[in-house]
Amino acid sequence: MNGWHGKILKVDLERSTITTETLDPKMAKDFIGGRGWAIKYLYENMDPTADALSPENMLIFATGPLTSTPAPTGNRYMVVTKSPLTGAVSNSNSGGEFPTWMKRTGFDLFIFTGKAPRPVYLWVNEEEIEIRDAEHLWGKDVHTSTDILLEETEPKAKVACIGPAGENLALMAAIMNDKHRAAARSGVGAVMGSKNLKGVVVQGKKKPSLFDKEGMRAFSREITKEVASDVKAGSSLHEYGTAYVPQVTNELGILPTRNFQSGQFEGVDGIDGPTLKEKYLIRPKACYRCPIACGRLTKVDDAKYKGEGEGPEYETLSAIGSACGIDNLAAVTKANYVCNEMGLDTITAGMTVATAMEMYEEGLIPEEDIGYPLSFGDPDALIESLKIMAHREGFGHILAEGSYRMAAKYGHPEFSISAKKLEFPGYDPRGAKGMGLLYATSNIGASHMAGDLAYAEVFGVPKKIDPLTIKNKAKLIKHWEDAFAIIDAAGLCVFLSVRYMFNPEIMIAPDNLTQIMNFTTGADYSMESLLEAGERIYNLERMFLVRAGFNKTDDTLPPRMLEEPMPTGPAQGEVVELEDMLSEFYKLRGWDENGIPTPEKLNALGLSEA
């Protein structure tokens, strides 16, 4: 096989056994790789109703056919499992260097089953695959653990591991790789913790073979050149990282402010990209083989918030900054470092604190439960809350359950700004209607990564569309969800892909991506067959949800989005007209009125056995 190694590593943590499996080429093509193969395995080999934190759950690390190839940003992997936060499927994406090195071990996927009797880590290189004791690492933060793991294995190896949050089964625990990158969302780190798996260390030189090496090289070079010249001409992503975005969303009136009570934050200048650049930036940082380099290597000297690391990115500035009413960038950056060291998803962690702040101010969560005042705008209370959340200490036990369970425990689930119990990312959907439909329908809950129409509604990529209308949004969201499934399955970064791998005129057709996939795999994809594969992946994930007990009632948004008009700004007076978009969306998807894929649809996608 080309692009794909066609090999899977299976680790039974219970019995401490390791086996390998080869892949059927037809299944490889039909499900592309990464997120696609992973859901196929998950669907066929586990009971979707199983407890996500039980040994029955499977944890899958999945690279794509383009990971570790010359494709620009071919540096991603997905973590796929059943989420303990949402009860739905998880597919969390991360870049950096770990995924490339993972693929170079000669395996496309690592599948973990069962639970190790004691803490362990996995060490994979070309000569050996070993499950090793990790008792001495338990309790240690991500940075320390990574350093020790590299010392014990090989300094040039790459590490993905959990911190205290994952060990303590905090439901927003992330799996961190290369210290600062995160497969963050929906509690994948807690699943890893529940398996007593502290880390995975990889090293290898087995690059995947390419079907048409010359064609691939030339084509990738062309795209890289185009990106590089755009970067040179002035790219906000390179210049400021995603930190340039708060100003943009604030201008549109959709910057999450004080737990989404409004969409414009008076302190926005304090937490934006130029301020970050001026005060704390050391230099931009790129994932492996990326010409954009949107990462930020930063350092804070301020005595109280001293630290060094990566970030913050937009989502963190929004969830930990404006959503908590905090305009102190030193504190937000420090809070970001704390999340990285503890292994927390900054979005759910920040948004859970934001919900707690609103409920505290409303008198719904008493101060004696929390142990300290927890008002909007208090950076020290925020940082303290993140620490106790990761350690499940005191009130941290409640915070570690995420905003929905916390708010429900105090009798007011409506204060949780989440869909399928996953907290919203940084776009208030009352001013970006397509995002509202996306949050409500996404298989993993409210994630922008499931089909980020904000690119078009907010950022003008591939072209600007009106964010306030619901017209055409059902069609676009269906299409973008399928397209993003392809990107995730192929192993690319969405930032680059949407702009350079898709044809903007057809909003959006994977023209360049189809070519790159064919140069790599030789599998003779057409744009249509690739899009159909994306749709196949999306529908199989949906079937996992259906079997886990989800239906239309779960495809919804918090009452604040549906009933409380946006109070101020350009989106003033707006709510999300979800019902209208939803019924159109189900029809376009070929699902029944209860949101369940029809047998005809499943047949057409080759999923008749689902």
Binding site: E251, E315, V461
Partner: protein, 79 residues
């Protein structure tokens, strides 16, 4: 009449040296359109820019009113 220009992301530089933080108040004649103002400051008008008036997406031939805020930034995936 007075309007405010707010240049975001890398477009901040278009307003230098006067509009240091990417913000500049300018006087324009009544009847001036969004496109006419942006042209003066060399802001690309085609699809590579996102242009908002008071936070809303409007056409370039939109005629400005007193106290309007025009924001612009390069189209670029992000967030």
């Amino acid at each position: 009449m007075k309007i405010t220009l707010k240049m975001l992301g890398t477009y901040r530089e278009h307003l230098l040296p006067k509009g240091e933080k990417g913000i500049l108040e300018v006087d324009v004649a009544s009847g001036t359109t969004v496109g006419e103002v942006l042209e003066q400051f060399d802001i690309p008008l085609e699809h590579q820019s996102v242009i908002l008036v008071n936070g809303r997406t409007l056409e370039l031939d939109h005629v400005l009113n007193d106290n309007d805020v025009i924001a612009a930034f390069p189209a670029m995936a992000g967030g």
